[in-house]
Symmetry: D4
């Protein structure tokens, strides 16, 4: 039985009624539903339906990510910080998706934006802050150099998310993905734009750390 | 200053004297040298040279991975378990490389071999053991389905390593890599055959957990 | 002379009048027309034209697949069961196309939806039912692990259909296709989203089995 | 429990002792071992070892495929014919691998060589014979047109095997694979050079037909 | 100075005014303008402008190909026949583009449609007619087998045009292109959908043959 | 019946005895055998065998292309000139293969070497000579610009052969192939290194021209 | 601190408000803002906002490139000429982007359009003018032969920009990019359509030359 | 006439006698010959032949690059510095090739090795030195981040050379190439391992700067 794994409905490729049905089932069984990569039509259908089926639920939207919470939902809490970093403006929505997932699991979020390597002093200025996180998610498009540079400066585990920016050869995130797989520093990777997966993997690590803090305490 | 990051000399593409020089510098400065993807010629050169320069050092070889330890080297120890899993026989050497890295950092290793999904009951038999690890490395070639299946059964963080087996379309690990990036369960990925990176990333997570256990205790 | 081979008009890339003309010819000569990958405009043109040319014909639509039957068409019947399986919601339309083809040939259909490997117990719950089919079509997108897992659990022939879901590297069905070609269990593959081909190939196998049952009986 | 599925040891990527160990286990438990894609070194190791461990076993070699049979092994028999067809000389070894698998399962083999479409009359001359098989395996390299042409002439199920011949763009079987996936006739495909998989899938179909003949008879 | 080479304006990627300007220059200097891959907006702009600038010119449109002729334009004539062949309905527009080019140069056209290899007898029925052409253009999408089959049946030079039909792996003409480059019969190839290039190359060959007929006569 | 099409045995991927057998059959039935892409081992086997089986035959070798002629073989003759052009030294062997094929068919050869665009005046110096050929084969590796430049200077049909030179991205002939398919002048293309196909296609065109010269004369 | 490097806001992938904010910050801090790859919506938002925030600023638009200048902005000046060359009409917008960047830095621009190799005399006519530039940017799509030909005729440094024109295999600039990387003459390359990067790199070279002229003078 | 362009013989793909002939012609006409990507056999042939034909010439070898100088050769001299930078040990040979080319043209070389971004302080330590060069060549394999980072720190023109190191996805320099084309800082690129091209392009820039210094002085 999968209990501890972050769950979301991937809206892409599904009809609006299908998304609504899956979200409402989640809401019913777990008091919470997370929907990613939803388009306007799907979000509107969800809003319209929830108004009827779960009139007391709240629906939070951030870009294409939507979270619905039952009135009596008790959010979890983790004693662990996930640092979420972007190289530039275009990486924002992908980082947002990761952030929603980690926050949903109760982790503390430290979001640091726009510190890409083209202006390296901005990267270097944040090193101390980066070192304080328990786990880092770093989102970067085009050549995707930022996760490599950060992973060389900290010993926190880094999960890199290539972002589908860039045009021409290697555009749409393929250069960033390939570069991150080839990184000469230590990091692991999720698919292009896979903010959900990065957030979910960071959550699993944050939970392991939170659990270890508990273990320690209870010893 | 990179201090906590697992370090190794990547032998591939370097001449034997270059590998020897880099390894001896590591040995001198840290009491330890780890060399990955070394061929016979490089290993022999290292053995020959160490005999003269560090006559008391010990040299351990596992496949193409070599570790040299100064006589007075005091190995670190981590209170954390890394589960290292293979789908089949051909995934062994990649898993071995990861294992050397994690063991070198002092983690406890739980190695589970040959539980690929073609014989699913062998996978299912190991679920409890898989759940006990703090972090899992799962190596799989060809279609690379095992990490996906395992990540759906446990809530431990899974680092997947695609392995360069398979022939024809998608061979040499590309199908496994693509499949792992597309995985419908939660995991992060390193490059094809990148046992070192998987081991090093698992080590960073294991250290974070070990540190959290200390935190807890010291509170 | 191709007589026994399942025939359909592939609407994609044809103008609406071309689709209509081909369908009406099929209807005239065989009493039946099957049109796949038709868009709304093509279906409407077909409906409009048939109303005039074949006022007694019936037109059945399922997603982008359309079947027109002459009033006096006598559907064939096969003593054989095709199991049609999907990993998730997005695989539905591709499986539907296959289902129309097999049903059109008179096979018994056993449709099993939404048993992808992320929730492995749902897969395992269906093993007995899967074993009862004479031939299986399994549709799966993203990493496409389900056909591999099923083919390892049954000795029924499995025809795998990769589905064009997934984003980023290996998206649009390429990861699933490559993984299925690399499968460590025994299966054969059709192109991405080729529900028609999967259904037609399953039909040929079902017919061979039906014929063998007749052979047996008549001996 | 996988019982009915054709089993083989894929030698590629394994050490000779590993191949020997896997083959001997198979021999011990099932009275038979099939090894595919073995190189000379692996075959010699197998011969040498079997002489000691299974002195009464016989070892049959066909190209890189090896079959070892215990002295008391009773070969199965299927009432079904597999037609195995090649386009040209270079497709021979891949077809041989398929043939060994089907023959091993007890099917009757009808092998037809060298009827590629460059000399179309040779293809057409064999149509009647092709129609008599219960299932066809057609191996073709370069542009891989033969399976498409045959599948348009018969209503037997065709399993196409692209072969890694050809140089330049689309060489090594990729053009053939892509062309077969795009085929405008009905067929299913296995990976480039995957003679084993083609043979095993044909075997599953042949078994289903054989079973249906039995069914019929026993009714 | 390029005088004998078929000339056309490739509209794709140009603004409507740019297309108009280039076409009018051609019309002015040569009495004729050929525009390929034009969209509706570009054609309309051309019609509108010509009405003013060349009120006596005639404008012929065939799909996305447009030809404008000055009132006093004297069309050339070649004593040579170009056979233009399609595998199926979707190949029509590409063949049309080639046809316009060859007809524009004065060649006799023998157009043969819809003789793809899925219904091989339709191909075989046309062999005599195919042999009578001086040069053949054969357009085929999906797996692109028709040019290979035809080139094996005739000793006329065959220029193959892969067509961007097909979905999934190898779709958009890439499978057909690769297959044609790998063809086991003798043919040369132009790019996917390059009807203009095929027509122009056929024209150059037709002119060489026409010239040789003249040579002969004048000897 | 293929009678007029240039025939050769493609040695690559065949065993030496297979090559010998195919060549000897050709020699026996047509008085001539052409073998392409043969390695030393295959050529030696052919020499050795012919000495016994056809002691009076002559064997001509040019790089990896071999032609064997029966003692009484009467070579054909064509009234047509094929210009064969290389961009640089590395294109020589591919051009040689084409040359053997055309010469074998009796065409007059005009070979022009080493006029690649890096030294454009050498290209321009040959324009008159290039214009005199009836058909041109132009072989070029790396960026493959020469066929494009030549096709812009002459109205002879140009068959371009990309050559597998070049390293890095687009190496092994892929850049040249793609560039030739994208050529902004009129030409048709054969696969990378496909000297045989270029020669054979040029031969078909040369024969058509030769035939037209005869036609003319006989009128 | 990056001071001398040409700066621009890449609008693609950003929301209109984000582009406006970045441009206004640039305007405020440097008296100038350059925005590339902006769509209509983004340009309109910029115009609307600037009217309020910087009522005295001027906004210059060229295709998708926009430059905003504060009223008191003093443009720099460089004693150096950048030659900007296009092969054809479709390359214009990419060359325009480069031109804006170089002109913005104060370089003298010599723009030469439409001298692609299909009409080689037009290329050759410009050789003297090409030789007078200090640095050349050459933009070319499809097969991208022009930069190679020009780099063989001049000893000025050439920066080649592949352009995303062309359809079929190697379309969208990939053939041009690969061909330029394989060029047999000396040049360096930027990504497909990267007019900004070409202009910025040419600017850096022009500045170095300008500086050297100053150096010389001041000696 | 190409006079100012750096010239070398690319040995790869040529026979040893061909390389010797080309080198001796260069030596004879220019007093100097540069041979790149030569293997041992080619170098030995060159040494052996030169001993006879140019007994007074000197031959310098650096890895696979060889330079032969006539006894009376007067080397050129440029007042300009080329900085040549490597990320790691494996990038050395490619940088060496570039260095030979620039030194051969008389430029001053400033070589800086092993400052890849995994140890960012080593990169930062060299910023002042990097800023002093007139033009920079930066060679980097795997993810190729170093040229991007350097180009963000200096306003010297940077020519980036991706190096064919790295294994798995994006290995052999493809990730580095794609990343450099996507770089968010300003640089231009040459092909993977194209040390010669980088050196030659840097030489053209260095000459332009040297010329400008002369210009200045002579004013
Ligand atoms: N097998 C390996 N695969 C990927 N990275 C490695 C491997 N071995 C070592 N590394 C990393 O590569 C970096 C550069 O290695 P080196 O080229 O030896 O300086 C090391 O610091 C490690 O982080
Ligand atoms: N959805 C489909 N996918 C692949 N093949 C198809 C599909 N629908 C029909 N076909 C096949 O395409 C062949 C040619 O179709 P058409 O272009 O309509 O003549 C038909 O005979 C079918 O075998
Ligand atoms: N030549 C082959 N090609 C593809 N799969 C194979 C081949 N030979 C054996 N197999 C399959 O690979 C599976 C795993 O093989 P092994 O790695 O030996 O355990 C076997 O159970 C077979 O189903
Ligand atoms: N059209 C363009 N192509 C490539 N890079 C660009 C382009 N326009 C701006 N840039 C660069 O992209 C960097 C990042 O841009 P931004 O995302 O706006 O911060 C800028 O500093 C420029 O160096
Ligand atoms: Mg780190
Ligand atoms: Mg999990
Ligand atoms: Mg099975
Ligand atoms: Mg059939
Ligand atoms: Mg032919
Ligand atoms: Mg021409
Ligand atoms: Mg030049
Ligand atoms: Mg810079």
């Amino acid at each position: 039985q999968r209990r501890g794994i972050p769950e979301a409905v991937l809206a892409e490729g599904k009809s609006a009624p299908q998304v609504v049905a899956l979200a409402e089932t989640a809401l019913e069984t777990t008091g919470r539903a997370l929907v990613t990569r939803a388009d306007d039509r799907q979000v509107e259908a969800l809003e319209a339906s929830l108004e009827e089926t779960f009139p007391d639920a709240t629906l939070e939207r951030r870009g294409s990510t939507v979270r619905a919470l039952a009135a009596d939902y008790e959010p979890p809490s983790l004693e662990a910080t996930v640092g979420i970093v972007t190289a530039g403006t275009v990486d924002g929505p992908v980082a947002d998706e990761a952030e929603v997932v980690c926050a949903d699991a109760g982790a503390t979020i430290d979001r640091i934006d726009d510190i890409g390597v083209a202006a390296l002093n901005r990267t270097l200025d944040q090193v101390d802050r980066l070192r304080e996180a328990d786990v880092l998610i770093v989102a970067a498009g085009r050549e995707g150099a930022l996760p490599t540079v950060i992973a060389g400066l900290v010993d926190t585990p880094v999960i890199a998310v290539p972002v589908s920016s860039g045009y021409g050869h290697g555009g749409d995130g393929e250069a960033a993905l390939a570069g991150l797989l080839q990184s000469c520093t230590v990091l692991s990777v999720v698919n292009i734009d896979a903010g959900f997966v990065a957030g979910a993997q960071a959550t699993l690590i944050a939970r392991a750390i939170d659990g270890a803090r508990d273990d320690g305490r209870s010893n």
